[in-house]
Amino acid sequence: MSAILEVRDIHTFIGGFHILEGVNVTVPLGSITVLLGRNGAGKTTTLRSIMGLTPPAQGSILFDGHPLKGKTPYAIAQMGIGYVPEHRAIFKELTVKENLQIAERKRGDLARKADFIFDLFPDLNRLIDLPGGNLSGGQQQMLAVARALVPDNRLLLIDEPSEGLAPVIIQHLMSTIARLAETTSVLLVEQNFRVASRLAQQYVIIDEGHSAVSGQMSDLIRDEALVQRYLGVA
């Protein structure tokens, strides 16, 4: 399977701190890859480095064979990468409709995708004229994912979608992400190993700023010692 994203040995510094010290991630086309690791391991920084929000100082990132290094975040997004950040980053003063409209890259993107998006998240259609700040945490998370679906993105970077959500909402969100992966490749950051193991085909464990282990999720599920060592769960 060819790779849609190849992150090769990136090093990222934030405020003089060496946060990523050699991260390698490969996302095969049309699959879900999950970044696992303890709090502060560097998972979020890896996604932000890919988006150019905290650009890496060393290493290379290839998206569909094209280098991303040196490009601005908006140019990276325009290449077809959707980003759903940690804590959602919904525009609270904008209505749900405006939150979706702002993600349009071509006129009519939202109209074209509306049926698909509202089929995945029917609640959003009902809340369309409400300000984003009035939505519950689960609704905001759905809006954040829906926003990334408005343009024709070929890769979605989704950071901790289950954080702070009720189990029933997590279940709905994860089945939605699984449906998305039928048409889009996904690189997911997820703390909840149980959720991640059901969803992803590949995994990369980030530990203290570098990618420690990677492979097929089915192999990781069987390797309890590895899970215990890096993730602290069995």
Binding site: Q78, Y83, F91, L94, I102
Partner: protein, 333 residues
């Protein structure tokens, strides 16, 4: 309506009732009362033209443009120069009709304001976005350079507008008093701009991008939008609107080197009083400060408090901040 919003509306109504009440008590006739209100709205609209750019630029870019008053001053000088004979841009022979010449003079002022705003943002401000203190020093420095350039080109002598045109020389009568049609014309332009900018912010794509950028610039970029280009556009428009303010103020206030600083200080009071970065706060704040200055001018006549009109914006600001520390429509910035 949320509690915060309700308390803002109550505060605005209380200030309005107080100002209108004092204006009514001060005036000995309905005509004088009307003149005070019209004068307040006139000053409020001019303030809005300076403060709107200051507020939107601050909200979106976190830049407090201390050169904003200079664009107002330059707008006044360019419009004056284009309208009158003997200046740098003597248009009297090309455009003998003073009405048409005024329209061209205002357009030229807006054009010069836009060009200078664009040059400042692209050439000097852009490399300093990560350094807020440097931005303050830079824009303050630019205001000093602009002042010296104006003195060099037009000297320090203030100019009174002498070349009258249709709307500037006409009056209308109400309650036995003569009212300047030009003041009403400026109030009309101000109101049209308030509504136009509000519609732009609420209904257009660029408006959505600006409002989103005020909340979270990084996320706007991550959605594929070139925020830097939006910064340039907003900054340029802010300077153009300030220059427009100077140009339409000049037929009444003339052109002088003190215009920039006077309007900048009052506009800063408006922006803080309205709530940093809030457009509706700036619109409401402009009207309140304009009315307060007019009432203070009226009150100060014949008393020893000649400085009352100049300190009134700051007094009002202090009062509002004591009750609402983030301004009338301010968030948590």
């Amino acid at each position: 309506m949320s509690t915060t919003r309700r308390s803002s509306v109550l505060a605005i109504l209380a200030i309005l009732v107080f100002l209108i009440g004092v204006a009514f008590i001060n005036s000995n006739s309905l005509g004088n009362f009307g003149i005070t209100l019209l004068s307040g709205l006139f000053q409020g609209m001019l303030l809005f033209l300076v403060a709107s750019g200051l507020s939107i630029v601050f909200g979106l870019m976190d830049v407090l443009n201390l050169a904003q008053g200079s664009y107002f001053m330059i707008g006044a000088y360019v419009a004056y120069d284009a309208q009158h004979s003997g200046g740098l841009l003597d248009l009297t022979s090309v455009l003998p009709d003073p009405n048409l010449r005024f329209v061209v003079a205002v357009a030229l002022a807006v054009l010069v304001g836009s060009a200078l705003g664009y040059a400042l943002e692209r050439g000097l401000l852009r490399p300093l976005y990560a350094r807020p203190i440097f931005q303050l020093v830079l824009t303050f420095g630019i205001s000093l350079v602009a002042l010296e350039l104006v003195k060099f080109i037009w000297t320090t002598t203030p100019y009174s507008w002498t070349e009258l045109f249709g709307v500037r020389e006409s009056f209308f009568e109400l309650f036995g008093q003569r009212f300047s049609t030009y003041r009403l014309f400026v109030v009309g332009i101000g109101l049209v701009l308030i509504v136009t900018i509000a519609l732009l912010l609420r209904r257009s794509r660029i408006g959505i991008v600006i409002r989103a950028g005020v909340e979270d610039r990084e996320m706007v970029q991550a959605l594929g939008i070139n925020v830097r280009a939006v910064f340039t556009l907003v900054f340029t428009l802010g300077c153009a609107v300030a220059a427009l303010g100077g140009a339409i103020a000049a037929p009444f206030l003339g052109a002088s080197t003190t215009l920039g600083n006077v309007f900048l200080l009052q506009a800063i009071a408006v922006v803080v009083l309205g709530g940093m970065g809030s457009y509706e706060g700036t619109a409401v704040g402009s009207v309140l400060v304009g009315l307060a200055i007019a009432v203070a001018q009226d009150t100060a006549i014949g008393t020893a408090f000649a400085a009352l009109p100049s300190i009134t914006p700051m007094l009002l600001l202090v009062l509002v901040l004591l009750v609402r520390p983030s301004g009338l429509f301010g968030g948590s910035r």
